[in-house]
Amino acid sequence: MNALWAVTLATLVKDIRLEWRSKDALNSMLFFSLLVVVIFVFSFDPLAEESRHIVGGLVWVAFLFAAVVALNQTWARELRNQVLDAYRVSPAPANALFLAKALGNFIFVSVLEALMTPLFVIFYNLRVLGPAWQLIPIAVLGTWALVVNGTFFAAMSLRTRSREIMLPLLLFPISIPAVLGMVAGTTAILTGEDSAHFYIVLLLTYDVVFTTACLTLFGMILHAE
């Protein structure tokens, strides 16, 4: 168990250091979601009252697309110089690699969300009517839901032709319940009309189910020959 965490931490630190030096994923992700935000602002120019009903959807669509940009770069880095093959023959547990990648993506997407949310608030003149603190569990659980499956499917689409297109095709259908939970939960909190408890429980269930599934099957995907 200790070995698992040691390898996870080492890989995670390596990924963050690489990202800090190059800022490839983060920059492209940030600029991409900024573009999405601006396009949304031009497309929808709602009143404050209406915007509460639609911003939940807009925010998560923007984050979903930006997350795909980051996820596509997760494994591409390891393909250069056959790093992934080295992982495969090394005795390090496969799940450590997966956890490190998923946590790294989680950190990147969270940073993106933290930077982008104020923009949405400014552009749409948002004021939360429901219990605002509940947005935090929804954001954390929702981001993990996107990232854990995204990391897994990115590893899967490595083996296919035109893998950059493959990832959203695999990820979006499976993510529909999570996206629905995030969007509906955020809307419920913004408008203050409904309770978001159900959606938090839904996202938690989704996270538990798919984290377990990913950890069970990742070894097979990594070693599939």
């Binding site: 083996r159 296919t160 939970g181 189910v209």
Partner: protein, 301 residues
Amino acid sequence: MKRLFPILSVITAILLAYALYAALVVAPTERTMGDVQRIFYYHVPSAWTAFLLFFINFIASIQYLVSRKASAKTAAKWIVLAIGAVGTIACFLPRVQQLFPAGMRPSAVATTVLLIPIFYFLIGWLFPEEKLDVLAVTTAEVGVVFCTIVLVTGPLWARPVWGIWWAVGDLRLTSTLVLWLIYVSYLVLRGFSNSAQTQMLAAALAVFGALDVPLVFLSIWFFRTQHPSPVIGGGGSLDPRMGQVLLINWLAFSCFAFLVCWSRFRLELLHREVEEAHAMESLAGAGVAAKASLPLGRSSR
């Protein structure tokens, strides 16, 4: 085996013709919805067939995944047996029965739960390891065809009855759509790469999709449903003649689906045979080329 196919085709054609006649003429006209309700006799059997095929795909995928490791195979066997036993017993506990929607009989739920181990062992027994993947492709593709029919006939029914083509909050239509999307992405994955690894990847994706289905159902259930309340086993009163017609149509479509699956299965086997032949050919070609490039090749002449 060879002669069985045409015989079965003839029987299926007769069944389908009779089912069509029964659906259009024999079945009584529904009082509130009128003749449009007859779409039901195509819509519902197609849905049942599609779900059954996806279920078989899920089981074949799991069997394929665990077939690599003896320990995983044993574990999966006991887990499936446990699910069957616990699920069946749980259906008769009063605490669990309260969770069922009104009108759903515990014996019906228990039978459905029992089908899981039955299918699991039946498929494991009928299909050896390498055939499991062929079965998975077959059921996914034919399932998508039937699911498409459900999605086309559903709005055609909804439009005259509710006045709208599609209700986003509707539980069954929307979860069927998500299921369809998941299996289309499964087929896309298979189409995009056809190496030996794909079989493993596709099996993993099928397991993910199956895990997703209850969550999809749960998430949409939270929205209000606009569908007419369940007619089958839902306590609604279905005219016995309508029930008979539905049963005939279901039988006819099941036979038809079986035939289509059989053809698709043989197509996949033929496809693999061709691929193997190509591989052998290129291997032989490489052998000849290697021989020709050797200095010995020249001296022996």
